[in-house]
C-alpha cells in the first residue's frame, strides 16, 4: 500500500498556508542564489575651481559659532559635497587666481579615493596663490574650456569681485558656445560690504585694505560715458577726469549681478553659497547626470517577502479550530 495515495493531496495543495510556505521556500531559495542586479544610477563628473584670491579671505560667514572666511566655508562645503555625492562620481580640482585656473589633479572617484581627495580639499589655502589679480571673467572662460577638455561639468566657487575692476565696456566676450559645458557658479560671501584682510610677505595678517590700497576704477581702455561731466575732464590729458577714483572696491560683498550676468553669458546656473551644506544637491540639479554602473541587492526584497509569508502561515494558527467534519477523499 502506498501511503501517499491516501493523502488529501488536492486539499493540501489548495491550503493557503501550504501555498504561503511554498512561496516563502521559493523566495528563500531565490535569495540563496540571487546575485546583485545591475542598475544605472546618475552621478556627476565635475571640475571644481576654487577662487583663492584675497577677497575670499573676507570673514563674513559663521562656521560653528565662529567667524569664518569665504574660503573656509567653500572648503567645508566642497568636503561635505564630496562625502554626499553618489559613489562613481568624479571630481577634479583647480585653483583660480590671476586670470586662469590651475589644475591640481584630473578627475578622481569620490568614494574609493575619498581620503586623498578630502585631504587635498582640506589643503586649499590662499597662500597657494601665485599672483594677486582676480580677473574672474577671464578665469571663468578658461575654466569652462578646461572642463570641456576634461569632459566634466564645472563648479566655480568665487565671490565675483574683479580686481582690477572691469572696464566701462563691460564683460569681455565669451568665445565658447554657451551651454556646451554645463555647471554652476557658486557665489560665496555675504550681501553686505565687509573689509578685506591684508597679509604681509610672511603670510601674517596685517590689518585691512584701505580705500587707496586698491584700484577703484579700471582706467585701461576707453573712458566711461559720464567722463565728460567729471571734474577736470580733458579728452587728451585727463580722459577719466582729474580726481582720483573713489569707490568701495576695498570692501567686498558677493557680486551677484555680475555672477548672474556671467552665468547668462556662458550658460551656467548660479547659486549662492549659504553655508557649508547643500552643495551636492545644488550641483546635481545643475550638472549633466552621468550614468554610473550601480548594483542593487535583491535579497532584502525576496527575504522580506518570504518572512512575511512564513509569519502569516504561523499566525493563521491562531484562528479557532474547525469542528471535526468527515471529508471525502
Amino acid at each position: 500500500m502506498n501511503p501517499v495515495r491516501h493523502l488529501p493531496l488536492g486539499k493540501n495543495l489548495r491550503d493557503r498556508r501550504f501555498q504561503a510556505l511554498a512561496a516563502a521556500l521559493v523566495l528563500a531559495l531565490a535569495a540563496v542564489f540571487a546575485g546583485p542586479l545591475p542598475l544605472t544610477r546618475s552621478g556627476v563628473a565635475v571640475l571644481a575651481v576654487v577662487d583663492i584670491t584675497g577677497s575670499m579671505n573676507v570673514r563674513d560667514y559663521t562656521l560653528d559659532g565662529k567667524p569664518a572666511s569665504r574660503l573656509d566655508v567653500a572648503r567645508a562645503g566642497l568636503r561635505r559635497m564630496v562625502a554626499e555625492l553618489p559613489c562613481g562620481s568624479r571630481l577634479a580640482l583647480a585653483l583660480f587666481t590671476e586670470r586662469r585656473p590651475f589644475l591640481l589633479f584630473t578627475p578622481i572617484e569620490v568614494c574609493a579615493d575619498f581620503a586623498p581627495l578630502d585631504g587635498a580639499l582640506a589643503g586649499i589655502d590662499w597662500r597657494m596663490a601665485w599672483e594677486g589679480d582676480s580677473r574672474i571673467t577671464a578665469g571663468l572662460h578658461r575654466a569652462i574650456q578646461m572642463a570641456g577638455e576634461l569632459d566634466t561639468d564645472l563648479l566655480f566657487v568665487t565671490d565675483g569681485q574683479e580686481t582690477p575692476p572691469l572696464p566701462s565696456t563691460g564683460l569681455p566676450p565669451f568665445d565658447g558656445k554657451p551651454g556646451a559645458v554645463r555647471g554652476l557658479i557658486v557665489g560665496a560671501g555675504g550681501h553686505a560690504l565687509s573689509p578685506i584682510p591684508k597679509y604681509n610677505d610672511r603670510g601674517r595678517e596685517a590689518g585691512f585694505y584701505g580705500e587707496t590700497d586698491v584700484q577703484q576704477e579700471n582706467r585701461f581702455g576707453p573712458p566711461p560715458d559720464d567722463a565728460e561731466s567729471r571734474e577736470g575732464y580733458n579728452p587728451r590729458n585727463a580722459p577719466f577726469g582729474a580726481s582720483a577714483a573713489k569707490g568701495t572696491e576695498h570692501l567686498s560683498s558677493v557680486r551677484e549681478p555680475h555672477l548672474k550676468a556671467l552665468g547668462a553669458q556662458t550658460g551656467l546656473a548660479y547659486a549662492h553659497l549659504d553655508g557649508p551644506d547643500g552643495l551636492a544637491a545644488t550641483l546635481t540639479a545643475a550638472a549633466t547626470p552621468r550614468p554610473l554602473p550601480g548594483r542593487i541587492d535583491p535579497r532584502p526584497f525576496l527575504g522580506g517577502l518570504a518572512l512575511a509569508l512564513a509569519l502569516a502561515a504561523f499566525l493563521a494558527g491562531f484562528r479557532p479550530a474547525r469542528p471535526l467534519q468527515p471529508t471525502r477523499m
Binding site: F18, P116, F314
Partner: protein, 355 residues
C-alpha cells in the same frame, strides 16, 4: 555596522529586534487544526511527538534564518599589517612655465615632448610599478601647492601626475616648495624609508634665513633626497662653475646642489637631458628605494547572508513537505497501517496540540 560578536556582525542590527517573532512556532503550528472532544482519545505516540518537535524546530529555523538573513550577517574583515618593499615618496614637481618647453628649450611641435609631458609619462609609470609605496604630490612655482596628501591610492596619485603637463605658472621658488614637500611626510614612523623627489628644470636662490629653517626640517625628517634636474640643452649644468663670480645668483643650480650636499642627508642628483635619461634616473631611484615598509592590507569582510537564507530554506522545505503530507483526522486515518504512521501520526500530534 552592527556590534560584532567576536569577528561576526550584522549590517542592520535593529532588524534583530524581530527575532522574538521566530518563537511563534512554539505557540502555533502551521498545520491544520481540528477540534475534537477529548485529546485523551488518541493514544500516546512517541513518533508523533518527535515529528511535532521536528516541525517546531523547522519553523524556528525558518523564521530565525530569514530574520538573520535580512539583518545581513557577515564575518568582519580585518586589516593586516605586513611588510613590503617600498618607501614614502614625496614628489615635488616644478610647474613653472619653462617645464612646458622641450629639452631643447623650444615649444614642443609635432612628435616632440615637453619636459612636463616626459615627466608625466615616466613618473606615472613609476607610480604604477611600486605596489607598496605611499606617495604625496606637491607642486611649486611662485608658491607651493599641496596637490595630494600622502596616500596609497594609486589612482589619485596618477590623477595628480596627469595634471603636470598643463600650462605652468611663472617662477621657480624652490625653497617654499621644499618646505611643503617635507611637511607631507607627517609624524615619524619607525622603520619607514622616506624619499623626497624633486623634479625641476631650474633652480633658484634660497634665502639664507629659509636655508636655516630647511636645514632643521631636513635634520628632523631625514629623507633620502633625489634631485631630478631636467636640463635644457645649452643651459648651465649642476657642476659648471660660472665664468665670473661664483655666487648663488650667478649659478643657482650649482649652489642648490651645494646646499643639498651640505644637508647631511643621503642625496643624489640626476641630470637628465632627454626623456631616456629621465627614465634611467627614475629606474636608479627605484632600485635605491628598496627598503622594507610596513603596509596595511585590508581583507574584505565575508557576507554570510547566503548561508542564513540556505538555513531558512531548509526549515521551510521541511514545513512544506509536512504540509504536503498532511492528513485529516478521519476514520481511515485511525485505521492506518504502520506504513501510514508518518502522516497520520503527525496529524494526530497536531490534534493533540489543538485540543
Amino acid at each position: 555596522m552592527g556590534a560584532p560578536l567576536g569577528s561576526f556582525g550584522v549590517a542592520t542590527p535593529w532588524l534583530l529586534w524581530l527575532l522574538p517573532l521566530a518563537l511563534l512556532p512554539l505557540l502555533r503550528s502551521a498545520t491544520r487544526r481540528t477540534a475534537i472532544s477529548a485529546v485523551s482519545a488518541a493514544p500516546a505516540d512517541p513518533l508523533s511527538a518527535a515529528l511535532s518537535a521536528v516541525l517546531t524546530g523547522a519553523g524556528l529555523l525558518a523564521l530565525t534564518g530569514l530574520i538573520v538573513a535580512l539583518a545581513g550577517p557577515y564575518r568582519a574583515g580585518e586589516s593586516v599589517t605586513r611588510t613590503g618593499i617600498g618607501a614614502q615618496v614625496s614628489m615635488l614637481i616644478d610647474r613653472s612655465g619653462s617645464m612646458n618647453e622641450t629639452f631643447a628649450g623650444r615649444q614642443p611641435s609635432g612628435e616632440e615632448e615637453s619636459k612636463a609631458a616626459a615627466s608625466r609619462r615616466i613618473l606615472g609609470a613609476f607610480v604604477g610599478e611600486r605596489a607598496h609605496d605611499l606617495f604625496a604630490v606637491t607642486a611649486f612655482s611662485t608658491a607651493p601647492m599641496l596637490v595630494m596628501p600622502m596616500t596609497d591610492r594609486r589612482d589619485a596619485v596618477r590623477a595628480a601626475i596627469s595634471a603636470i603637463d598643463r600650462p605652468g605658472l611663472d617662477y621657480t621658488n624652490v625653497a617654499r616648495g621644499l618646505g611643503m614637500a617635507l611637511s607631507q611626510f607627517g609624524p615619524a614612523a619607525p622603520g619607514v624609508s622616506r624619499a623626497l623627489l624633486l623634479v625641476s628644470d631650474g633652480a633658484a636662490v634660497i634665502d639664507p634665513r629659509i636655508q636655516a629653517q630647511l636645514r632643521a626640517e631636513f635634520a628632523k625628517v631625514r629623507p633620502n633626497l633625489y634631485w631630478l634636474f631636467l636640463r635644457t640643452k645649452g643651459s648651465p649644468s649642476i657642476h659648471d662653475k660660472p665664468a665670473g663670480e661664483d655666487t648663488p645668483q650667478a649659478a643657482p643650480e650649482r649652489h642648490l646642489d651645494l646646499f643639498f650636499k651640505s644637508l647631511a642627508v643621503p642625496y643624489r642628483a640626476f641630470e637628465a637631458e632627454g626623456a631616456e635619461a629621465v627614465a634611467g634616473a627614475v629606474r636608479q631611484i627605484e632600485a635605491l628605494e628598496r627598503d622594507p615598509i610596513p603596509y596595511t592590507e585590508i581583507r574584505p569582510r565575508r557576507d554570510l547572508t547566503g548561508y542564513a537564507y540556505a538555513v531558512a530554506a531548509l526549515g521551510l522545505l521541511l514545513l512544506v513537505l509536512a504540509k504536503l503530507a498532511e492528513a485529516d483526522f478521519l476514520r481511515q486515518g485511525a485505521r492506518a497501517t504502520g506504513e501510514r504512521a508518518a502522516p497520520a501520526g503527525q496529524a494526530g500530534a497536531e490534534r493533540r496540540k489543538a485540543a
